[in-house]
């Protein structure tokens, strides 16, 4: 029992901190804060880079999409226009073939 009391007394005895105690504690706190800040900074830089990359690719994709849309619209217009011209001319030719020959045309 005495031994135990002695041990407790030893543990709970009043310690006088060394003169540089505060300095050492504050130094450790600063070091810890710095250690935590570096990964956070890198994470922020990484997130920013990732956001920029995503924004770049999304922008490029949108540009590509827009270009494709414009190309498709031009192709569609040209396609229809060409078909219309061909159809119109064929219609004209058919009309000319089906048109009854006038007397003026029959006369020599």
């Amino acid at each position: 029992m005495d031994r135990m009391e002695d041990e407790l007394r030893q543990i709970y005895r009043r310690h006088t901190p060394s003169p540089d105690f505060t300095e050492r504690v504050m130094g450790q706190v600063r070091a810890e804060a710095k250690r935590k800040f570096i990964p956070f900074r890198w994470a922020a830089v990484g997130a920013l880079a990732a956001s920029l990359t995503v924004a770049f690719f999304v922008g490029r994709q949108q540009q590509k999409q827009q270009r494709l849309q414009q190309e498709a619209e031009l192709a569609e217009t040209q396609l229809l226009e060409s078909l219309q011209v061909a159809g119109f001319k064929i219609g004209q030719a058919r009309e000319a073939v089906l048109r009854p020959i006038s007397q003026e045309e029959v006369r020599p």
């Binding site: 619209e73 396609l79 004209q92 000319a96």
Partner: protein, 189 residues
């Protein structure tokens, strides 16, 4: 190794030849282009044609026969030239085109000639089916050739010419040379 390379080259060459239909004409009309005051050139094939076909397939207001007609096309080529003055070109200027259509497969369907104008419609037959159509129109101040590659339903095409079942058209001119432009003549004149 040499044999493999030679064989692969032959395969590439043969596939290229196979891919190009006999209905496709060589639009060698640079001499007419130089004389013309206004030029419209359309070359639609491959990817660009595919884009137009896809867009047209989902368009409202386009009739299904038109969509069907467009879906089967493999290429469409058009050259339109307008001339400020009459007799700016000779009939012989289009001989290169006419000569190509004297080859196998081509059949002159309609040939209307009323001097100095001429309008000829040729069809390209493959396995007894229309696999292409060419329209050659020669007028005093206008020359037009349209070469359509692929199966063509003429009735749908004529209806299309009358602008049936179509949204209002925008005029698309490509590769227009920097020349004084004339207003295109009214259709049928």
């Amino acid at each position: 190794m040499k044999t493999v390379r030679l064989l692969s080259m032959m395969v590439v060459l043969c596939s290229g030849l196979w891919a190009q239909s006999g209905a496709q004409l060589k639009m060698d009309l640079d001499h007419l282009e130089k004389k013309a005051d206004e030029v419209v050139k359309v070359n639609l094939e491959g990817e660009s044609l595919g884009l137009g076909q896809k867009l047209l397939a989902v368009r409202d207001g386009v009739t299904s026969p038109v969509k069907e007609l467009v879906k089967g096309l493999k290429g469409i080529y058009m050259r339109r030239f307008w001339f400020r003055s009459k007799d700016s070109y000779e009939r012989e200027d289009a001989d290169g085109i006419r000569k190509q259509m004297s080859g196998p497969g081509w059949v002159p369907m309609i040939d209307v000639r009323k001097k100095p104008d001429g309008l000829t419609v040729y069809s390209y037959m493959e396995n007894e089916k229309v696999a292409g159509v060419t329209v050659l129109s020669e007028q005093a101040q206008e020359f037009t050739v349209v070469n359509i590659v692929g199966p063509v339903d003429l009735e749908t095409l004529i209806n299309l010419g009358n602008q049936l079942g179509l949204p209002p058209m925008k005029i698309a001119t490509t590769e227009l040379p920097q020349k004084t432009t004339l207003p295109p003549p009214a259709p049928g004149k």
